[in-house]
């Protein structure tokens, strides 16, 4: 287990170094950083002066090293656009995205798994078939279309839910949360639903397919032969075996949720990191873009590593440190 952990951590560090390198290259090649700092009519000398001061004439590898060390301390420099430290900007935006993604992730699991089980156990029911068709729609409609439809129905026509913003947020020290106010919670409903829809349908279809597969397995037949109750067979024996692929997909999709949050945040003017990133792209605000890239990659790496660890919890066959196959021939 320890060896496994160390190996996974090393891999994670390698990935992050590679990502940092790409982010670093953005600095070098997405326009000249000097241009972004000095005024339009600066002389060549003034430019060289700035270049020296920023130590942009050092060897590439040295600059990269500096970038990595700074980034590791959360220092991504200063935003070109509004001259505030990038880390402060991100810290401000992170809670909004985190809460949105968290709610979407929980929704996709809390709805996707039960619906998947239901459609697998009652494959011929009217409700199951309806859900299957709906899930096809969910998987094939672009998310911004469903987002706009949701706004049209629930904000414009019915006027039940807000169409933009986070509602009222409360400062709890180091985090601004929308979970504690009625308007904050209401504002979460549409964006998180839009964001989770694709994941939700994916998980539902996956659980259904896996469940149908697992129900055909020999150990399920043998569990029936042992006279176990249906409830035990479905929700203990079968479900646990379907969870392994669900964990995989969910881990991958959690990253997807963070990435797709960009679209949701744009549609709902949600003040999160995604919206920040889109602004940064519009203004070629490289420090913000680089920081976003590194942040999101870090989240991906953390999620993937956690998924691998989770496998170990679910599947005893992967716990390599246990005494293995100590059984002799019968």
């Amino acid at each position: 287990m320890l060896v496994f952990l160390v190996r996974r951590l090393l891999q994670a560090v390698m990935v992050m170094l590679a990502v940092a390198f790409i982010a670093f290259l953005m600095f070098r090649y997405l326009g000249d950083p000097v241009n972004n700092i000095v005024s339009q009519d600066a002389t060549q000398e003034q430019r060289e002066e700035v270049r020296k001061r920023l130590r942009l004439d050092d060897p590439l590898i040295l600059q990269y090293g500096r970038f990595v060390v700074n980034a590791a301390q959360g220092d991504f420099g200063v935003s070109y656009r509004n001259s505030r430290p990038v880390s402060a900007l991100l810290a401000e935006r992170f809670p909004a995205t985190a809460e949105l993604v968290l709610v979407a992730a929980i929704l996709s699991l809390a709805l996707g798994i039960p619906l998947g089980i239901y459609t697998a156990l009652k494959p011929r029911g009217v409700l199951s078939q309806g859900l299957q068709i709906l899930s096809l729609v969910g998987i094939s409609l672009p998310t911004f279309v469903t987002g706009i439809l949701l706004i049209l129905v629930f904000s414009v026509w019915l006027g039940w839910l807000p169409s933009f913003g986070r509602g009222d947020v409360i400062d709890i020290g180091w985090w601004w949360t929308g979970f504690l106010t009625a308007t904050g919670l209401k504002a979460l409903i549409l964006p998180s639903f839009m964001l989770c829809l694709f994941q939700l349908t994916l998980i539902m279809r996956l659980v259904r397919a896996e469940m149908l597969e697992v129900l055909r397995a020999d150990y399920i037949k043998f569990a029936r032969a042992r006279g176990l109750r249906n409830r035990t067979i479905h929700f203990r024996h079968a479900l646990k075996n379907t969870l392994i692929p669900v964990v995989t997909i969910f881990g991958l999709q959690l990253g997807g949720l963070i990435a797709f949050a960009i679209i949701t945040e744009t549609v709902f003017q949600w003040p999160g990191m995604g919206a920040l990133f889109i602004q940064a792209v519009n203004f070629t605000d490289v420090p913000v873009m680089a920081a976003y890239l590194v942040m999101v990659s870090l989240l991906f790496v953390i999620i993937n590593t956690s998924v691998d660890l989770l496998y170990n919890v679910i599947d005893p066959r992967l716990r390599t440190d246990q005494t293995r196959a100590t059984g002799r021939g019968a």
């Binding site: 109750r229 100590t326 021939g329 019968a330």
Partner: protein
């Protein structure tokens, strides 16, 4: 009264091209504590017969007729939940592949305990004690330690021992063992069969033992049933059937002529192959391959009737003369 009585059992599969009959009018009984061997070529309907008895036919397969009685009470028309209570508690089953019969994500102890407590209400601690006793009973060394291990930590033979413990732990009086050693290493097959026989004998549990191995039948079974194309060809005491088979198909299986000395262990190939369910010949299903076939065999279907100290389904015993 016999423990299990199967009367005119039919197992059908509705298909687009009509209803296929996988088990056709099969009747037999199993006495208390008796081991009935079942042999026949692959596809003869052995597994379907067993699945029908334990109520685990997979749809679209269904019982198309006949009765199955346990202790004189019909079990073929029970509700799904009533039948579930029979499974494990009154009739146990062991399948071919021990590697896939155990849920890989649960310890063997957990699987034993849940089976015991499903059928025999008792505190968890007591069920655990029983589970350890069962592991010891089926010859797992250090059972108090092994009980908390997962299936992948056991070898194939050890897993099949666990499967036997699982099938027997709620003390059923009948075990259906469908080729329980086919997937195992040859070196452990005999031990598993010996174990199965011992635990059945000790508990006076009866068994239906499906196997391809005539040696196993000879050593283990009290009586043997021979199936062909979904029908019962012959049934009778094992020694007599092996030495002096009544049915030409059984004789073919034994290597044509009854002989003294070593019997062939494996089923001997008979000229031709068993017909598919879609084109079972009229009359006796065996007639295209039967060396003794007579004219009537092509249009009269033989019924199972008493022959010697058993029964056989062959026109030669129905007074039809050549």
């Amino acid at each position: 009264m016999a423990l299990l009585e199967v009367e005119n059992l039919k197992v059908e599969f509705p298909t687009r091209k009509g209803v296929l009959t996988a088990v056709d009018n099969v009747s037999f009984s199993v006495e208390q504590g008796e081991i009935l061997g079942v042999v026949g070529e692959s596809g003869a309907g052995k597994s379907m017969t067993g699945a029908a008895v334990i109520g685990l036919l997979e749809p679209p397969g269904r019982i198309g007729g006949g009765q199955i009685r346990l202790d004189g009470k019909r079990i073929d028309n029970l509700s799904p939940d009533e039948m579930r209570k029979v499974r494990g508690r009154h009739i146990g089953a062991i399948f071919q592949d021990p590697l896939t019969s155990l849920n890989p994500l649960f310890t063997v102890g957990k699987q034993l305990i849940e089976t015991i407590r499903t059928h025999l209400p008792m505190p968890a601690a007591e069920a655990r004690k029983r589970a350890i006793e069962w592991l010891a009973e089926v010859g797992i060394p250090a059972p108090d330690r092994r009980i908390d291990q997962y299936p992948h930590q056991f070898s194939g033979g050890m897993r099949q021992r666990v499967v036997i413990a699982l099938a027997l732990c709620a003390e059923p009086r009948l075990i259906i063992a469908d080729e329980p050693t086919t997937a195992l290493d040859v070196s452990v097959q005999a031990q598993i069969i010996a174990l199965l026989k011992r635990v059945c004998r000790e508990r006076n549990a009866a068994a239906i033992l499906v196997t391809h191995d005539m040696g196993v039948i000879a050593e283990t079974a009290d009586r043997v049933a021979v199936m062909y194309a979904g029908r019962l060809a012959e049934i009778g005491p094992v020694a007599r059937v092996l030495q002096k088979p009544s049915h030409p198909y059984t004789a073919g299986l034994m290597g044509s002529i009854p002989r003294i000395g070593p019997r062939p262990d494996r089923l001997v190939q008979i000229e031709g192959s068993m017909p598919r369910l879609t084109d079972i010949p009229k009359g006796c299903a065996f007639n295209p391959r039967c060396p003794k076939a007579i004219a009537e065999c092509h249009h009269l279907r033989p019924e199972l009737r008493p022959v010697a100290d058993g029964a056989a389904a062959c026109l030669l015993y129905e007074g039809v003369t050549q």
